[in-house]
Each structure stands twice: as C-alpha cells, then as structure tokens.
Symmetry: C2
Subunit: 206 residues, 2 copies
C-alpha cells in the first residue's frame, strides 16, 4: 500500500514543519500556508492529511510527546544496574528538557501546554501523556523509596505529581530566562536528594 | 490633564479586553480588530494607545502581573500574627492561581509564559515579575526556616525557585485537566510541610 505509507510519512513531515515554525514564532505563527511551504508540499496536500488546523496540531503534539517519551524510556533502560533513585533523576531531567539541544522541543511543548488550556482535543492528548509519565514516575518513586530503606514518609503518586509539575515549571522558567539550565538542575537534584532523606512514618500534618 | 488620564484608563480597558480574549481563545485569538470590538473602542484608538500588538501584550502582561502581585501582598499582610511558614503557604497557593475565580488569569498567564519563550520583550516583563516573587519567597523561606528551629538544611533562594516552578507547573497541570485543584493543593501542602521537617546541617549529597 504505497499510498498509505506515503500518507503517514507526509503527516510526520508536516508535524516536523509545525514544530519548527512553533519553535520560531509560537503556535500563533503556525499557518497552513507556512506549514505547507516549510514542509515543501502543496496546501492541498496538507489539507488532505489534516482536515483542520487543530487536527494538525494534535498530531504534532502526539509526535513530540512520543519523541520525549522514547528518550525517557531509553534513559530508564540504558543501565539496568542503576538504582531506582538514579533512574528517576535521569528521567525527570529528561522530561524537563533542560539541555540546549532540546530548547526547541521545550518551546513547542510549552506552546502546546498553553494552547491546551483553551483546546479540549489538545488537552486530551496532553492528559494521556501526563498520565503515562505519572504512572512511570510513581513506580520509580516507590522503588527508590524501598531502596532507601522504606517505608519512607512519602506517597509515591503525590511525589510523582510534584516531580512532573516541578519539571514543567522549570522548563518554562529556563525558557523565559528566569533560571539558567544549571540552576534548574540544581533545583531538581536538591529536591530529589531530600526526598530520600525524609524520616520514616506518616508525614507530620499542619 | 484630562486627556492623559483618559489615555491610561483606556490602556487598562484595552488590557482587560486582551485578557478576556486570551482567556477564551489563547493569545492566538487576540487580534487588534477583536480587541477594539471587545473594549468598545475604535481600531484607531487601540493604535494610538499601543504602537504594536506586542506593546499591547506587554502592557496586558504587566497589568495581570500587578494584579497577582497585589493579591500576594494582601495575603502576606492580612494577618501580621501568622507564622512565616503559613504566610508562605498562602502566597504560594495564591501564585498558583488554583481557585476557580482565577482560572481565566491562569490561562492568560500560561499563554504569556509560552509566548515569552519566543518574544524577548514579553520575557523581560516576566523575568521582572519572577525576580520580585523570588525575592519575596526567599525572605519568607528564611524566616520560616528560622522559626522552625534552623539553621535547617536548606538554601532559601533555591527553595524559593523550587516553589515558584512548582506553582507554575501545577497551574498548567490543573488547566489542562491532569490534576484537580484539590490534588494541586495537596502537592503544595505536602511539599511545604516536609520543607520544615528537614534535618539540620548540610544536605547529604549523592
């Protein structure tokens, strides 16, 4: 089915063009016309791949989410001998997109995050991404806490939520120049270090 | 100088229209024409107030930043008898924009954050906001740590950075529906509670 294969390849090509344009100008600068020009296809070809601009953005978001998810998985399996705490540290840093070569991805991710606040279909795609990340992080927090001599005074799911929010906040603060990537890494490292130092038993309330 | 007073009032009126449109559609949906219609002024009037769309967005961002900053200050002085830890908790929750009535502000803030990643002048305004918040939070963390029987094993500036990033990440995750406002509050509360439980002395490394 050469036509079908072509179609999927073209969708990915267009998604890449969307991401490059979003990186340069924000999602605001992503027009059908410019996407077609950047992907070097006709506007009709773009319209045959995606019925609406939103459908195109959802596909591009899924595309970038897969790429980030794949890198997180690679970090997790690269060294089976590493501790759960160390795997978690690598995964959180990867999700934070702090490295220079991921600056473009970070910008595009943040643009999608903002647009998802006013678009239900984008929000649905993002929620699926966050749910999968939360599940993976919850498992790692549990394992790391057990390694640290648990039961520690922590709720793995809540700590996974904390880490994901912290990662996205740091991504944004590095992008706007409030923090350097080094300062953001220091925040993550310090947060994780203290996580395994918590006293055993239920957390103190109040 | 009645004309000058008029001018400033009109700029604020236009900024409000920008925020309402951004809330409904994202910054992408903010056009000069629609802003004029929403503010019930002519397009010429908008153009006399702001030379470019970017100038208009920067003013609107400053406007919303002032409003949030003012609420944070009110939370901090409302009860002089409250502990520094409690004041910090209130201030962080306020910055996180978790209350239903601040949903629109949260959406607009996130849209500005994303756009600032591709606009230097927006980034400059945001950085000034974050620098001021970081200073206020650093002071409160210092005071709260001292109250808790310090010297605790924490770096006030680093913890202020953590709190600001966590707050923005939670804002985003509530907006896209990954977390409920209650879950986000629980994350903040747990994070702050454990901050004052840290053992004294320098943090363990590794």
């Amino acid at each position: 089915m050469p036509r079908q294969v072509d179609h999927e390849g073209r969708r990915r090509l267009i998604a890449e063009a969307v991401c490059r344009l979003a990186d340069e100008r924000g999602l605001e600068g992503v027009t059908l016309r410019d996407v077609a020009a950047r992907a070097d296809v006709s506007m009709g070809a773009v319209q045959r791949c995606f019925r609406t601009k939103e459908e195109m953005l959802v596909f591009a978001l899924g595309h970038i989410g897969e790429r980030i998810g794949e890198r997180v998985r690679v970090r997790l399996v690269r060294s089976p001998a590493q501790s759960a705490a160390s795997a978690l540290g690598h995964a959180v840093t990867e999700v934070s997109l702090l490295r220079d070569e991921h600056r473009a991805e970070a910008r595009v991710w943040l643009a999608f995050l903002a647009q998802a606040a006013v678009s239900e279909v984008l929000a649905k795609t993002l929620k699926e991404n966050y749910a999968a990340l939360q599940e993976a992080f919850t498992r790692l927090v549990s394992e790391a806490a057990a390694d640290a001599g648990g039961p520690a005074a922590l709720d793995p799911r809540l700590e996974a939520r904390t880490l994901l929010a912290l990662a996205d906040g740091l991504t944004a603060h590095v992008l706007v120049g409030h923090l350097t990537p080094e300062a953001a890494r220091e925040v993550l490292h310090t947060h994780l270090t203290h996580l395994w130092e918590r006293p055993a038993g239920p957390p103190r309330t109040g």
